[in-house]
């Protein structure tokens, strides 16, 4: 579990993180989105006790930042933005070093477990310099998991990876999620955040919004229903606009787009209105805004 209360970090005159208050329960996959320079990596560094906050407080897995830093580092795993592997050492040796530093009891066993888990066992004796970007990322993920941390911080886990490698990493994240670990992901990949995260925080020095992807879409754009009508005209739009729960209705390319709260309840009423007006309804569907639209709208307004 991660909790923060008015967490603030300033570097000289620059405020990187301002009054961040959030609570991430155990087992949640939390997406932390924001533009470059928003303060996401600074937040991760504070929560992994690499740097100290200027003000505010935070606890990670029940340990207080600034007071129990070593306990925090024992209980979290960190995937940094660049893998930071020892290129001249083999994959196995890289992990053995970290297993020792994380005080893992069965070093050989854990190293083998995670090399196999990530499909790197056959390449265990090869130096990290010979690995592709995707393989280095997987090795870095293995490094973050060796000591079985309760919470995992992943900073841009699929950055620079090809689609196949990205899919593999996403699948690992879902596997890890099934183990009940808390996962905190910093990412620019909105599709990835949409697929993986239970909740998303959009951040630009301060937290702009925090909710599930679906609720964020509703919050920013509302819910829109699209009626495909054989011969749609403005009179049908005007009729629908009179409905008390319709906030907006428009005619776009022979389709009527209606903004309405709770379409599950009110769609049948709208359909009855259209049919009574003689409309031939071909399809009815929900206009799903992408998370990218939501994100861009929020960041633009910030």
């Amino acid at each position: 579990m991660i909790t923060t209360q008015n967490l603030t970090k300033k570097f000289d005159q620059i405020t990187a993180v301002e009054n961040l208050t959030l609570e991430i329960p155990e087992g949640e996959v939390f997406g932390f989105l924001g533009p470059n320079g928003a303060g996401k990596t600074t937040t991760v560094r504070i929560l992994t006790s690499l740097i100290t906050p200027t003000a505010g407080s935070a606890t990670v897995n029940g340990h207080v930042i600034g007071e129990e830093d070593i306990d925090i580092r024992r209980s979290v795993g960190l995937l940094t933005e660049t893998p930071g592997l020892y290129d001249n050492l083999s994959a196995e040796r890289n992990l053995e070093i970290y297993a020792s530093l994380y005080e893992v009891e069965d070093i050989k066993g854990q190293v083998e477990k995670y090399l196999r888990f990530l499909g790197l066992w056959e390449r265990r004796n090869d130096v990290a310099a010979t690995f592709s970007k995707g393989m280095k990322q997987k090795l870095a993920i293995a490094r973050a998991l060796l000591h079985e941390p309760r919470t995992l911080f992943l900073d841009e886990p699929t950055a620079g990876l090809d689609p196949e490698a990205s899919r593999l990493v996403r699948e690992f994240i879902l596997e890890i999620k099934k183990q009940g670990r808390t996962i905190f992901i910093c990412t620019h990949n909105l599709d990835e955040a949409d697929r993986l995260c239970d909740r998303i925080g959009v951040f630009k020095t301060r937290l702009l919004v925090l909710d599930s992807p679906a609720k964020l879409r509703r919050q920013v754009f509302g819910r829109k229903v699209v009626f495909h009508i054989q011969q749609a005209d403005q009179s049908l739009v005007d009729k629908l606009s009179l409905h008390p729960h319709v906030t907006e209705a428009s005619l776009i390319d022979q389709k009527i787009v209606v903004t309405i709260d709770d379409p599950e309840t009110h769609n049948p009423e709208l359909i009855r209105i259209l049919v009574s007006e003689g409309a031939d309804i071909q399809f009815v569907g929900e206009l799903r805004r992408s998370l990218e639209d939501v994100y861009l709208q929020l960041v633009k307004n910030a």
């Binding site: 992994t48 070593i70 024992r74 960190l78 893998p83 930071g84 970290y98 020792s100 530093l101 005080e103």
Partner: protein, 263 residues
């Protein structure tokens, strides 16, 4: 202690794959040991010197016991000039290892995941320092042992060997050597925090050898005599220099400083 050992082993397995570092650690001590042995060999096979110690200049007399002939005392004096050469080893090797170790991690961006482990900065700093100091002291002491053994084989007079093993040599090898190694590591950390090329860090760190070379040439010119008083004064001065350098390097080697300012 386990974490320190892990860091030391990690450093050695990485740094010794670098040929420049390997050359410094392996060949520099050999060369610096061979020079005084070569001089001993050449002077012991030359029959040019005769006479008693009383015939030698005062600086020579200070170094030799009355049992030595003029030729023997000359050997002792000439070889003593090269005592200072052994002091280059505990400076050059740690400077080389530390530079590649610290700047290499900066360039590789491997310090952040390392600092994210439960290791304390003290353990990390001690591990990296020992990884540089231990090979330097081993090379110095092994080189000195080879020198003593070689001298014993070449020279027939045990009195000369006794002069090579006097208090000044022992202070130089076993007290000043470690102090110099510590200063080289601390200085390298300071330099490495500011540069991003290990070769630049190594070359700048080698500035620390200049005072040793100044003493060497001062000795050759007769300005400085490596007496016991000089050696003891050097220990005090080095101790103070080490305290300052270690203080500065520890201040630079803080988690937040490394993460946010070491770029």
């Amino acid at each position: 202690m386990n974490k320190i050992k892990t860091i030391i082993r990690k450093e050695w397995s990485e740094v010794f794959k670098n040929r420049l570092v390997l050359f410094t650690v392996a060949f520099l001590p050999l060369i610096l040991t061979a020079i005084p042995l070569g001089i001993i060999y050449m002077t012991s096979t030359s029959g040019d010197f005769s006479g008693s110690v009383g015939d030698m200049p005062g600086e020579f007399n200070a170094l030799c016991s009355a049992d030595l002939s003029g030729g023997d005392c000359f050997q002792v004096f000439i070889v003593s000039q090269f005592m200072i050469m052994f002091m280059i080893i505990p400076l050059a090797i740690p400077a080389s290892i530390s530079s590649y170790s610290i700047v290499g991690e900066k360039v590789n961006r491997s310090l952040e995941p390392l600092l994210a482990t439960p290791i304390t900065t003290a353990e990390l700093l001690i591990g990296k320092s020992l990884a540089a100091i231990i090979p330097a002291l081993a090379a110095t002491w092994i080189g000195f042992s080879i020198f003593i053994l070689g001298s014993w084989i070449i020279i027939s007079n045990p009195e000369i060997i006794a002069n090579f093993l006097d208090v000044r040599w022992l202070i130089a090898i076993f007290v000043i050597g470690p102090l110099m190694a510590l200063s080289a590591v601390a200085f390298s950390i300071i330099i490495s925090s500011r540069v991003n090329d290990p070769r630049v860090a190594e070359q700048v760190s080698m500035i620390i050898i200049i005072p040793v070379l100044a003493v060497f040439f001062g000795q050759m010119a007769g300005i400085i005599t490596l007496s016991i008083v000089f050696m003891l004064a050097s220990v005090i001065v080095l101790g103070l220099v080490d305290a300052i350098l270690v203080f500065l390097s520890v201040r630079l080697f803080q988690r937040e400083t490394i993460i946010t300012r070491w770029k």
